[in-house]
């Protein structure tokens, strides 16, 4: 078999194939439910209900979507430049560590000053974490996929050390967790009484900002050119390595905001289970959004919904919550295949 490119795919093709991918994902979910001895329709229903069936569920989904928007943007920005930042997990923790470091009393500022400062410091930390791998890539040609992946493990061990050593909460009864943030360092709720913090609004703002950068600025133009054809970009005088570094700083900073927003908005302190793989899930979010920053919002809501829904479903039915991970991975693989088939048809022989 071989693939024959389609220059101008029809609208039906462009909508139909991704729809097929989603249907396949739903079928996969049904099969898994059957395998677990549950009723597939009931299971799917419970997932949807758990994700959006009540005010509480919806808010939970929005809260879960917040870090995913940040890590999704981090991946989307980097992948546009063909910079394979798989280290959002490490950058997230870097942001969280800095937030705790400066937000537990080290800086005694009023909230309107302290919060932006914390966010900025977190971004710098995340950017710094990615700087190493990207310099290794541009200077020595070391593949960034493996280095950023390995950095995730190193960072997690480092955080573990901090939480058992210098950053350990003296009042924590021996648990490896940090001290709590001072009230001025907490992101307030958007509406009093509703469990949704300003981190969500910040995430939407970040998506908008990234969209503006990509479509309206010279940096965005450079990032796209480098990602689509680095050789042509270099020939035309675009400073490819400098663009890579700028992209990395932006990407690392965005991922770190996830850590800031989780600590300052939701948890109030740092523990080793701050992120249940938000960094990795961000890759799925970005790919499902076709790397479009505004699309990241939607796909983050989808992925968050699947996770929140599956959690709630597994409490009611005997289907393990890991069904959510299988579903998102399936959605990712079927979606990239659907996109390929949008622009090419299969010819046998």
């Amino acid at each position: 078999m071989r693939l024959e490119p389609i220059a101008n795919p029809t609208l039906a093709r462009r909508i139909g194939l991704p729809a097929v991918a989603l249907v396949l994902t739903v079928i996969a979910a049904s099969l898994l439910a059957l395998l677990a001895g549950a009723n597939p329709f009931a299971t799917l229903g419970l997932i949807v209900q758990g994700a959006a069936g009540s005010k509480f569920a919806l808010l939970e989904t929005l809260n879960r979507a917040t870090p995913l928007i940040f890590t999704g943007l981090a991946a989307a920005v980097a992948f546009r430049a063909r910079l394979w930042n798989i280290g959002a997990e490490a950058q997230l923790y870097a942001g969280a560590v800095v937030t705790v470091l400066l937000g537990t009393g080290a800086l005694g500022l009023p909230a309107p000053l302290l919060l932006p400062l914390l966010a900025l410091a977190a971004m710098l930390a995340g950017a710094a974490i990615l700087l190493g791998p990207v310099l290794l890539k541009t200077r020595l040609g070391v593949d960034e996929v493996v280095t950023t992946l390995l950095f995730n493990f190193i960072m997690l061990l480092f955080v573990s050390y901090l939480l058992e050593g210098p950053m350990k909460d003296p009042m924590g009864m021996g648990w490896p967790k940090s001290a709590a943030l001072i009230p001025e360092a907490r992101l307030p709720r958007i509406v009093t009484g509703l469990r949704l913090h300003w981190g969500f609004a910040l995430a939407l703002l970040a998506a908008l900002a990234v969209w503006v950068i990509q479509t309206r600025t010279t940096l965005g133009y450079e990032i796209r050119a480098v990602g689509l054809n680095a050789e042509a970009a270099r020939f035309a005088g675009i400073p490819v390595n400098r663009v890579m570094v700028k992209t990395a700083l932006l990407s690392g900073g965005l991922a770190a905001l996830a850590g800031f927003s989780e600590v300052a908005g939701l948890k109030g302190n740092l523990t080793l289970d701050l992120s249940p793989g938000f960094g990795y899930a961000g890759i799925i979010v970005a790919m499902l959004a076709l790397l479009n920053p505004l699309g990241v919002i939607l796909s983050a809501l989808f992925v968050a919904g699947v996770f929140v829904g599956a959690d709630s479903m597994s409490r009611a039915a005997a289907v393990p919550t890991y069904i959510a991970d299988i579903l998102t991975a399936t959605a990712l693989l079927t979606m990239v295949l659907a996109l390929r088939l949008t622009h090419a048809r299969v010819r046998w022989r």
């Binding site: 010279t218 050119a225 689509l228 054809n229 042509a232 970009a233 270099r234 020939f235 035309a236 005088g237």
Partner: protein, 516 residues
């Protein structure tokens, strides 16, 4: 075809009614012909006439939409190179299909034994390769790494691959494009030996002289159709040219003109190696206003190093490069553009355009960071759009509009956009690296006329081409490049192609620097 008088030799290959479409493009339109034992057919046609497509169908890389192929009277199953190889068809591709990191022997052996057999049988194979090399005059060391071989040697490996598999029919796709005139002569000697041993050959080319020399019969393709078939002995270059393009080719007219001052000067410049290709060694060169300097040479002799240097991608490691008498400390593509150098890249797909960018986005690739395309980091897409429209109109770029993706354009239209992009800035120096490679005659004439007009308007032009005819037709002064060294400049008409060929093969280069 049936009315043709032949000596009744056995038909070894018969194509009938071959038709192939790529989307809307009809690449082959009901093509049919016979190849007989011991003859050399030349398949003549412009770039894009459908020659390579036809041969790729014959060899099984593509599948025809209609039509059949018969080899030695047996139908050839479509779409399988393995079947073609087994039937005795061997192909020497224009872009060599060799694995550079493997040895010559490994490349020859690849796919010759059942995959799951326990041994490669290298000893016997080495003996056989050596014997074939001797019989056909294809000297090459079986244990050499292919990546370390010259282009001519690699071609010999390709031919050996086919002969090792007992090919009875040999297809050669533009085999001389990368050879010196002398290497071409050696290749022709090999082909004559092969024919004497009963092989049949299809020789694809667009060079009329070679076609006249090697073939016994010429088939002419135009726009995917077989438009003519003649005995080579009964035709001449003129008539072939007319058949090929449908009209006689007018050679570009370059009026004499006194050159102006040197705008760019190289003094004893060395540059670093580029991959397999040598860097420059002690190169002296003046690019003068109102003059076209032609660079002749076999590909891979340092042309890309010179282009990279002037294009801003490389800096000298020794010697001086002077622009208007001064050195540029911070040499980069941007510095080159700022210095008024228009750069037409060698490979418009790889380094000239971003395939998934629109025409407008491609048009501003070099100017996006300046006003009016952007201001303080903010893009002005209206300005980009207007700029693209101006190029589309002035340079006759056939396209749906500035927002169409450039991937959809033909090579000629892509090249016109690049030409517009660099010439609209009013350059003082033009670096034209293989500016017409792969273009059809209409686009070739367009590009050549634009270059001549720029020269007449006072630009200094460096023309790099592997096509010696193009270099001799356009250049006021010709330099030959060999192993990174530059020959003295030869004024128009002072050297014959054969003499230039000797320089291209390295004669006359002392190894040390020549006098400037």
């Amino acid at each position: 075809m049936t009315d043709r008088e032949r000596d009744g030799a056995e038909v070894v290959l018969r194509l009938s009614g071959i038709t192939k479409r790529f989307g809307a493009l009809l690449a082959n339109d009901a093509i049919g012909f016979d190849l007989r034992k011991g003859e050399v057919i030349a398949l003549l046609g412009e770039n894009g006439a459908g020659k390579t497509t036809l041969m790729n169908i014959l060899f099984g890389h593509y599948t025809a939409d209609e039509g059949t192929v018969e080899v030695f009277g047996q139908p050839l199953p479509p779409g399988h190179p393995r079947a073609a190889l087994a039937a005795g068809v061997g192909m020497v591709h224009q872009h060599f299909t060799l694995a550079d990191n493997l040895s010559v022997l490994d490349n020859v052996l690849l796919g010759t034994r059942p995959l799951f057999s326990a041994s490669l049988g290298k000893a016997a194979a080495r003996t056989r390769v050596n014997r074939l090399a001797q019989d056909f005059g294809l000297a090459v060391h079986p244990d050499a790494r292919v990546g370390s071989l010259s282009v001519g040697e690699r071609q010999r490996v390709e031919i050996l691959k086919a002969l090792y598999r007992d090919a009875r029919i040999l297809i050669l796709d533009e085999p001389t494009a990368v050879l010196t005139p002398q290497e071409t002569t050696a290749l022709f000697a090999t082909l004559k030996k092969a024919v004497a041993l009963g092989l049949s050959i299809i020789f694809i080319s667009h060079k009329l002289g070679e076609v006249m020399e090697i073939s016994s019969r010429v088939l002419v393709l135009r726009h995917g159709k077989l438009v003519g078939e003649v005995e080579t002995a009964r035709t001449d270059r003129h008539r072939l040219a007319e058949m090929m393009v449908g009209a006689e080719i007018a050679a570009p007219k370059v009026a004499d003109r006194a050159p102006g001052p040197a705008l760019l000067t190289l003094k004893a410049v060395d540059t670093a190696r580029r991959g397999n290709a040598p860097g420059l060694k002690g190169v002296d060169l003046d690019l003068r206003a109102g003059q076209i300097i032609g660079l002749a040479g076999v590909s891979g002799n340092g042309q890309s190093a010179l282009a990279a240097l002037i294009g801003g991608l490389e800096s000298p490691v020794a010697g001086r490069m002077e622009l208007d008498g001064g050195q540029n400390a911070d040499w980069s593509p941007r510095a080159a553009i700022a210095a008024g150098i228009a750069r037409i890249p060698e490979d418009r797909h790889r380094s000239g355009t971003v395939a998934d960018f629109s025409l407008a986005e491609n048009a501003i690739l070099e100017s996006y960071a300046r006003q009016p395309m952007s201001r303080r980091g903010w893009m002005d897409w209206r300005a980009a759009d207007m700029f693209a429209r101006r190029i589309i109109d002035t340079y006759d770029v056939r396209c749906p509009g500035p927002s169409a993706r450039i991937r959809l354009l033909s090579g000629g239209n892509m090249q016109k956009l690049i030409l517009g992009r660099v010439l609209e800035a009013g350059p003082r120096i033009i670096l034209a690296n293989q500016p017409v490679r792969g273009l059809d005659i209409g686009a070739v004439t367009f590009v050549h006329n634009r270059l001549i007009a720029a020269r007449d308007a006072g630009a200094a032009i460096l023309l790099i081409s592997e096509d010696l005819d193009e270099v001799t037709a356009l250049s006021d002064v010709i330099h030959v490049i060999y192993e990174g060294q530059l020959s003295p400049g030869f004024a128009r008409g002072t050297k014959t192609p054969a003499e230039l060929g000797l320089w291209m093969a390295g004669q006359g280069f002392g190894g040390a620097h020549h006098a400037a």
